[in-house]
Amino acid sequence: MYNLLSFLLKYRATILFLALEGLSGFFIVNNNAYHQAMVVNSSNNMVASIMDASNTVSEYLNLQEANEQLAEENAQLRSALLGQSSISEQAVFDPAREDSLALLALSQDSLVVLPKVRTRSDSLRFQQYAFIPAKVVDNTVQNFKNHVTINKGRADGIEPNMGVISPNGVVGKVKDVSEHYSLITSLLHTDMNVSALVKRSNTLGSIEWKGVNPTQASLKYIPIHINIITGDTIVTSGFSGIYPPEIPIGTVKEVRPEGDAAFYDVDVDLSNDFFQLAYVYVVKNKLKQEKDSLLEQTLVGNE
């Protein structure tokens, strides 16, 4: 007993050292689970308001940029709106269009769209997703695991795992929420992946970030028999229900066969400029819960 005590006393610094390193390691490994219980990151109200305040100056400097971006988006939305109203006026039956719309609806996994109600499908799809606008309070691009902090939180209906987009494309996924702020895992995070489609060939792949260049990501799992070329547009697939389908991600920059593997190594220029992120939309998928519970039921039923 005395020996044990004298041992503990003699090596108390080393024991404390090991204990603190163990605790830090525990925090690092359990980062995801831990966040939910106790807000110890920049979505913490106090931390986020400090960042918000310290960003005021740079925000004013970027005001013009943000304005231009919003004006451009407004123009795009206006033209899209015009196009839509003209489509709904032509009630001519067009089998080819009907089919493609049905296909589109299937690929976008909107559960409610029937081929017959073609002119309504767009408005139904539109209602499936609600968009919560938010201002970027903090954003990093040069780390290996980047995060974005925004000024909307639980009080505004934001929940973990919702998708986040900007007018230019995919931004990331909500990781943690506090009352008035949220922490977003940026697309520029080495653990992030987004289900993506090559728009021209409808090939499914996965977007991952390698950790070095904030303007580029790589597209994985494109089989080598697929025709993919520089300039191809990459969009979200919408399969996960986190992002709406056809949200831009980027364009193909370079295609390399990956050794003797079955897949290409594809470099993608990201459509979003993460250096200039100012305003974003959090995507609320009203049917996600329904879809997930259905999936769960099916899986349970199969067992």
């Binding site: 404390l16 605790l23 830090s24 925090f27 690092i28 110890v40 290996f144």
Partner: protein
């Protein structure tokens, strides 16, 4: 031996100064996309020579966790700070000048000379930065790029730490550093 009251106020001031600079000024300062600036480590490096390893470990852990909250890296800075606080005492003993340290002196450039300080601070900063970046990426898959980040950041942090101490020292007559 704990921290005596003579050191308490200057150390508290040190903490506030370096922490505020870290969070409000240099948090988003990144040179050439690779050189990050972690000046807050200066607070830990400048703790009095005679404090016990236990005290140093606790200071390292708490400071690291506070920084982690602002960097969304919960645990990483804490782990790195605890590590350098554990080896700090050994390193200070190893660097003991002929005739030993004066009682109650600080491991600062002003008290020990700038060459001594750089010899003392550079390896500790380098180890701290290497730990930060390799733990963040979680492996050696981008070894040379991660090593470049660590090395460039160490240089940047060290220069900023020297500059900040010089500014504070020349603008105040108090015996802060």
């Amino acid at each position: 031996m704990g921290m005596n009251s003579r050191h308490l106020l200057p150390q508290a001031l040190n903490f506030i100064i370096f922490f505020i600079i870290q969070i409000l000024v240099v948090r988003k300062l990144v040179l050439f996309d690779v050189a990050f600036c972690y000046v807050y480590v200066a607070f830990l490096l400048l703790l009095p020579i005679e404090i016990s390893v236990i005290t140093a470990l606790v200071f390292g852990f708490v400071t690291g966790l506070l920084v982690d909250i602002f960097y969304n890296t919960f645990g990483i800075h804490a782990a790195a700070c605890v590590f350098i606080m554990y080896i700090r005492k050994l390193w200070i003993d190893f660097l003991t000048p002929r005739g030993g340290y004066d009682m109650g002196s600080l491991p600062s450039p002003r008290a020990q000379g700038i060459r001594w300080f750089i010899t003392y601070a550079f390896p500790l900063l380098l180890i701290h930065h290497i730990l930060i970046f390799f733990i963040e990426i979680g492996g050696f898959q981008l070894f040379s790029y991660t090593a470049l980040k660590a090395l460039a950041s160490t240089g940047f942090s060290l220069i900023m730490i020297l500059v900040i101490q010089y500014i504070i020292y020349s603008s105040s007559r108090r015996n802060v550093l």
